[in-house]
């Protein structure tokens, strides 16, 4: 049985009709609209300062140069920042998934007492927040300032992701399946590991992606929490600082500040932000395959 998309016939033959053409064109146009700006930014990042400044660069680099990238890489600590970002992203994703699953599975069981109540608390924390100063004070009291854990622990539980996972478990795992397992004597842990998790691969892959991308690109918390230990700066924070430095105009400075055009730097930053995900996403995509898991379990 072909487990790709819903129009496959049992005989394995594909039929194309007019709608296919239309759909493909519409989607292609949308994709193009999404791709072109990135190409523009890539072109800017490879162009000479003067032309970027004059806003002359469109889709093709003008005055082709790797200047911006060489400035970024000239700083050896960029590699270290890269390492930091990779570490916290992976750790954060794993932790986040564990915490989310530990919330989503139990709360998807309708018979659990206090289910609505606990869900309500989680949703409550999604909507209400104390503010940056109390959060800073908390991290300070916990002694987590200037450590990587300040970037990993606080955001680990995301009520948003939890709700998505819970609804996915609802809709993809029939109660009958679980009940027959329970009748066979399996405890909840067994059910979780042997039935629910394997069947939830698409949603787990999705949430892994969300967690990873979220952590990779967010620098606002690092901005506040990582101050003294400059070795622990994640990549996006470093890049943000570079852009800020490049955008300053100095007054009365007898400086030897090397001013890079901030626009070119910004463009390089974007490329840095998107590259890793472009590399990782194809691996995640193979989980978005229709029904393959359900079928396998049935066997």
């Amino acid at each position: 049985m072909k487990a790709s998309n819903n129009l496959t016939t049992v005989k394995g033959m594909k039929r194309y009709d007019a709608w296919d053409v239309v759909i493909n064109i519409v989607v292609a146009l949308a994709s193009l609209a999404c791709l072109l700006p990135l190409i523009h930014i890539l072109a800017k990042s490879l162009s000479k300062d003067a032309y970027v400044l004059a806003n002359k660069v469109l889709l093709w680099p003008m005055g082709f140069t790797f200047d911006a990238y060489s400035k970024v890489f000239a700083d050896a600590s960029i590699i270290r920042s890269l390492g930091v970002s990779v570490f916290i992203t992976i750790t954060f994703t794993i932790l986040g998934l564990i915490v989310t699953i530990c919330a989503a599975y139990p709360l998807s069981r309708k018979q659990l007492k206090g289910r609505s109540f606990i869900t309500f608390i989680f949703v409550f924390t999604l909507i209400f927040s104390g503010g940056i100063i109390p959060e800073y004070m908390l991290i300070n009291s916990l002694g987590l300032l200037d450590t990587l854990w300040s970037l990993i622990l606080p955001p680990a539980f995301s009520a948003f992701n939890f709700l998505i996972m819970r609804s996915a478990i609802y809709s993809s795992i029939p109660v009958s399946l679980e009940e027959s397992a329970r009748i066979d004597g399996a405890g909840h842990f067994r059910v979780l590991f042997n039935i629910v998790l394997p069947l939830s691969k698409p949603i787990i892959a999705t949430l892994a992606l969300f967690y990873a991308v979220g952590r990779w690109n967010t620098y606002q918390d690092a901005l506040f929490y990582i101050k003294q230990s400059i070795d622990l700066r994640p990549l996006q924070l470093k890049l943000y600082y570079m852009v800020v430095t490049a955008s300053e105009s100095f007054q009365l400075e007898s400086t030897n500040v090397q001013l890079t055009n901030p626009d070119v730097l910004k463009a390089a930053c974007v490329i840095f932000a998107t590259l890793p995900i472009i590399i990782v996403y194809p691996f995640i995509q193979k989980y978005f395959v229709n029904g393959i898991m359900l079928g396998a379990v049935k066997e």
Binding site: A50, Y136, F224, Y241, T245, E253, T255
Partner: protein, 553 residues
Amino acid sequence: MKNKKFVILFLSLMMVVSVLAACSKNNTTNTPSNTNSNNKETNQPTGSTGEGTEGGFQDYSNGFTENVTIEIPVYDRAFEGWNVSDNYYTRWIQKEFGDKYNVTVKYVPISRSNEVQDYQQLLAAHKAPDIIFHYDMPQQIAYYSEGVLQPIEWEEIANYAPTYWANLGDTIEQYGVINDEKIYFYAERPEADNYVNLIRKDWVEKVGMKVEDLTSLEKYNEMLVKWKEAGLGVLGGSLTRNNFNYNYAFRDWPIDAEYRALYSDLSIADFTSVATERWLKNLNYQYNNGLIDKEFYLRDEESKIKSEFVAGRTGTFGSYLTSNTDVIAATLANNPEAEFAVVPPYAGVPEGLKPQGRGYWPFGFIMGINYETPELERIAIWMFLEWMSQPDNLFFLQNGVEGDNYTIDSDGIAVRNDDFAGESVLSLNNNKDYWALVIEGQLYDDPEVNRKAQIRNWAPAGYEYLAEDLLKYYEEGAEFRTPDALFTEVVPTVSEYKADLNELFQELYIKIATSPEDQFDKLYEEAKQTYLDAGYQEILDEKQEIIDKGNFR
């Protein structure tokens, strides 16, 4: 029954949690908040006191008996490869100053782009450094209103930091009082300003004029008309935002001190004054006749304004001139025939008026002492400022090791050795963030030498004449520069309304400037009323009261 139980459970859960939170916070907040209320009294050191009695101060010139730790803030600009709190110079400072007096000097990084938030977080967590600094008076007034600055004693400063006091005592006495409390102390600002308005000289000459001919606004506008007819380009325009001296060229001269105090402000635009009307009318004229960048309101950042100039669409560009500015090279890359000159000061001034400018106050950093700083640490801070004010120490911090970082040339100016990458390499802005606590720029004793140094620092290679002109015009305009008025009382209505009025100002002035010329008068009258109703009238009233009391400088 069960329902109520659950409700109570939930509520008590919340209460327990908040109490827990309160307890853990109280542990850290309790002690300081107790000493906070006491601080203001115990600031007068018991025993040796600052009542001005001679010999009343303890002498620490041999050092403190027990080690004193001072926390000094320093801007963190995230320069590549530079550890802002631990580097050759912080260690040198510790060796030369700290070890000598048994003081530990700790540097606290404050992010340059986010400094107010940084300070607020540190203050809330009681980890803020001993000095709280900022470049703008309004923000310092805000800090004062938050209660985070402690009153200081001038005699104490004079005693422990005589050189520093000799340099800045007058400034501190003049400006450092608010609500009758002595709060602020300052860093010096050398008399210099490298802001310049560049113009495309080749365009000026193409329409048969000379840059020197631009002696009034009327002539300037004539030139713009000629530019338009020749299809060259327009005047560079930008969004007037957070800039409150835009209409100085349109003010009457001489200035009445009270008028000045009432209308010139550091946080609010004087939309309703006659000067603004003139400025706006001129802008409206320029806009309707296609003489200025039609989308000036989109240029809200320097890079956007620069972009228009570099691309050759506009013919003027104002910014700080530095030797490594990229605007000249970039403009030449896109417009190889470009030539540059400095716009003469009278060019923007209507006939009969004077090229008034904003005189910078004689200070750079405005500083206050953290309300939680105990007496000994405060004294150590004065001694620290004193030490840094010594010319030798200052010179070392500014230039580095002679022979390695720099060499003295025949003019007596330190010439930076750009290739040096040894241990004592300076930070990217010449360590400014360290010595800015005492002075804002580099100053040579000899004015001639100083001038030469400035030209070196400001002018890109081959364009020294720009810096020369800049200095010449600066000196010419000296008599017309007046500093802002400073109130010695907090003006609550200003803090209340400034954010909204600034937004309103931008909205209104753009709307009027871009309307047809015949509607100007009507629209401006309406707008004035709107502006007054939105809080400006209250501000004027309150300021007038303070002025009548004489509480301004």
